[in-house]
């Protein structure tokens, strides 16, 4: 972990506050976020969900898309997100999950611990929400973030299982999306993967049973349905391009 990622403790970080406006500012520059299967059901009504390969590991991750170009987030409309429920990986900021090795009865055990990113723009000592109470207890904000981190931790395992099945049943296909805006310009989303609907439709009973019993069938259909949100993103983009007050 880089130096700016510190294990959170109520002595070193007792004065730290989180400036939520700065957090939002940061999110405004994020064109996508990693998501996990447990969130698909909630997110699929708001965002297009896709898969992509991580550049560092080559492994598939699931993402919710917010914009058509780098650092563009069409889903934040000043001063707020257009929706209430944003992905876990955004709600955990500026905290991260890390692992520390503890000896337990002489056996080394990996234990998840909360880290804080001291370079995160929301982290400061002057303005915003406290993370520790004056007596050193966790603030409601931190408690919420810790439970989010825990959900992400579990989500990694769930995602691996889902992706294994998607690959096993050939349910992913590569897709390049080009959208044409009202003003004639085009925007493209490349290197993405989506559910292979033909293969999905031709799954046999046995495969369906396997996917259903692991809760993956629902996750898969959530991804399929989430594609409808692309038109919403296009609407946002068109509105964004439209100079205010003209043509109304």
């Amino acid at each position: 972990m880089p130096d700016n990622h510190q294990v959170l403790d109520n002595v070193t970080h007792k004065d730290i506050k989180i400036d939520l406006d700065k957090c939002l500012e940061q999110e405004r520059n994020q064109s996508f976020a990693r998501v996990f299967p447990s969130e698909f059901r909630m997110l699929h009504t708001y965002f297009p969900l896709f898969f992509q390969k991580r550049a560092d590991t080559g492994k598939f991750e699931a993402i919710a898309v917010f914009g058509f170009s780098e650092q563009q987030n069409l889903c934040v409309d000043k001063p707020e997100w257009r929706i209430e429920n944003k992905p876990l990986t955004l709600r955990r900021q500026p905290f991260l999950i890390g692992f520390q090795t503890h000896e337990q009865n002489g056996v080394p055990m990996e234990e998840p611990v909360v880290f804080i990113d001291m370079h995160h723009p929301g982290v400061n000592r002057h303005r915003g929400t406290d993370i520790f109470l004056p007596q050193g207890g966790q603030s409601a904000y931190l408690t919420e973030a810790a439970s989010t981190l825990n959900a992400i931790h579990v989500g990694h395992t769930q995602l691996t299982l889902l992706v294994d099945n998607l690959l096993k049943y050939q349910l992913l296909e590569s897709v390049n999306i080009t959208v044409t805006l009202d003003n004639g310009e085009t925007r493209a989303l490349n290197s993405l993967y989506t559910i292979h609907e033909e293969n999905l439709a031709s799954l046999d009973a046995n495969a369906l049973q396997v996917l259903h019993s692991q809760g993956h069938l629902q996750a898969i259909y959530c991804c399929v349905l989430s594609a409808n949100n692309l038109s919403r993103l296009i609407d946002y983009q068109n509105a964004f391009n439209q100079p205010a007050g003209i043509g109304q």
Binding site: G58, L172, E173
Partner: protein, 519 residues
């Protein structure tokens, strides 16, 4: 005689035999009861030649079609990436004399010929660098794709280097286990004919007669069927391409993590040239030369010196294998119900890795146009013979091009190579034309040319062939701007790719360890 083609017998189990078997079996459903039966008879006593370690990009489509994973191919065939060839010392013979023939087309090649602009504006940049990014990738030892690029997909067009022996074993296993090819290990000792001179069966030592409707001769230099049985004449082209002997060695890397070159290095010598092919576990190096110009001892000395200069400390103790070659091809490749594919059809020095691509092209055409019965066969055979006569001739022309453009006069070998009477008329005509205009789409008009005109551009302008341009304005100014823009794009793309692509060995290792995604 049953008229329908239901059973194909392939004689010979080298790379060409198994590639042909694989393509036929997969397309004609040999693993099913109703498919075409494919039987491959392989001699247990004749060892394969085991050269042909370089392929063309076509091999990616071939392997995909046969249904093997690219990851498995890397794991089992000791394969590496090939992004073209570097020709060293072919022009002046000087130490720094070198040019590239990359596998990507020049930028915008479909609609713009960059040669006139390059000659006028930026001759000081090597042609391959000015119009494509791939030579730079080769120089930096980079792979042609990323770890996240799916199997068989590319960032920069690529082919392979491979271990021919391991590749054959890999194909054999797939063909027998997955595609339903029947494998018979036995020697063919005689041929039985029908009254019309078609082959009825090949007679084996232990498995009796193996009958078939169509026979494919993949028996290598022995040419059991097309040569020994049918006596189809061999057209030698040694008067054009002089090289008739090769000495090959396997060279270990100096360290296990030494870089693997992602291109073939072809270095011209006094009386021939040396190939240098990097596989993950070793290099394949060989001197192919003209025995009329060079003695065996002299050639061996040259080869060992090259190996020593490349940093190998065991250059004196490496085992050298001698391979005799007769450059040329059969007068016809398909006679009666027998097709020759591979070395039985012909052989040319491996200067542009034409051996395996010809096998792929022949096996693909046979597969796609497989006559369903004997009546259709003669028509397909005629077409096949015309097509492949044309292809062999074009390859001979293209190989000769590498020689006639030399400025070397240090040995008789190079002087003789430039003699007019050693150059085919077809090539001389083209060279006469190309004094005044550069090769482009109009020069090669077949839909499936072996070498595109772009390849001629890379060799001609890599070797500095002069071009006299007319003084009158022939092209609109917009063309000029377009060309400048394409070269600009190429420079940007070069910068971007050199930043984003991994080292060749690093990627190959990762593929073998973790596997590429199919999608």
């Amino acid at each position: 005689m049953n008229n329908e083609v239901k059973k194909i017998v392939i004689v010979g189990g080298g790379t060409s035999g198994w590639l042909t078997a694989g393509l036929l079996a997969v397309e004609h459903l040999s693993h099913t009861d109703t498919g075409v039966e494919v039987c491959l008879v392989e001699s247990p006593t004749v060892p394969p030649i085991g050269v042909g370690e370089g392929t063309w990009p076509t091999m990616r489509a071939t392997l995909k079609r046969i249904g093997v994973r690219e990851t498995d191919f890397f794991r089992f065939a000791d394969a590496s990436f090939k992004q073209g060839a570097k020709f060293a010392r072919w022009v002046t013979g000087a130490q720094e004399d070198a040019y590239y023939h990359p596998l990507v087309l020049p930028q915008g090649y479909q609609h713009t010929n960059l040669v006139p602009y390059w000659l006028e504006q930026c001759r000081d940049i090597p042609f391959a660098d000015a119009v494509s990014f791939q030579a730079r990738l080769c120089e930096l030892g980079l792979a042609p794709k990323q770890f996240t690029t799916p199997e068989y997909a590319h960032v920069a067009n690529y082919a392979y280097h491979l271990d021919a022996g391991k590749f054959t074993t890999f194909l054999q296993q797939h063909c027998v286990e997955k595609l339903g090819v029947r494998h018979v290990l036995d020697d063919v000792v005689a041929v039985k004919s029908h009254p019309n001179n078609d082959i009825a069966a090949v007679c084996t030592k232990q498995h009796g007669d193996i009958s078939g409707d169509l026979f494919v001769d993949c028996s290598g230099f022995k040419a059991l069927l097309i040569g020994q049985h049918y006596q189809v004449p061999f057209n030698s082209c040694q008067d054009i391409l002089f090289n008739d002997t090769a000495l090959a060695v396997q060279v270990p890397y100096t360290t296990p993590d030494a870089p693997i070159a992602s291109h073939t290095i072809a270095t011209a010598q006094s009386n021939g040239w040396i190939w240098d092919i990097g596989l993950p576990t070793r290099k394949g190096v060989g001197y192919v030369f003209s025995s009329a110009h060079e003695t065996l001892d002299g050639a061996e000395r040259t080869l060992r010196n090259y190996v020593k200069d490349s940093g190998c400390t065991q250059s004196e103790s490496l085992a050298v294998r001698k391979i005799d070659i007769i450059p040329g091809h059969r007068q016809t490749f398909w006679r009666n119900n027998c097709v020759a594919i591979g070395l039985s059809a012909g052989f040319l020095e491996p200067l542009e890795a034409s051996a395996l691509v010809l096998v792929e092209l022949a096996a693909t055409m046979l597969t796609e146009q497989l006559p369903s019965n004997r009546q259709a066969m003669d028509i397909i055979a005629k077409r096949f013979n015309q097509k492949f006569t044309y292809r062999w001739e074009r390859i001979i022309d293209f190989l000769k091009l590498h020689y006639v453009l030399t400025k070397r006069t240090d040995t008789d070998y190079w002087i003789d190579n430039c003699r007019d009477d050693s150059t085919p008329d077809s090539l001389r005509d083209l060279l006469a034309l190309w004094q005044y205009q550069s090769p482009y789409h109009g020069d090669f008009t077949q839909t499936d040319e072996v070498f595109p005109s772009a390849s001629y551009q890379y060799v001609l302008y890599g070797m500095g062939y002069p071009l006299t341009t007319p003084t009158t304005q022939r092209k609109a100014l917009s063309d000029h701007q377009n060309a400048a823009q394409l070269m600009q794009q190429n420079a940007q793309l070069t910068a971007k790719l050199t930043r984003g692509l991994p080292q060749n060995r690093e990627l190959i290792q990762r593929i073998c360890q973790q596997g590429l995604h199919v999608i």
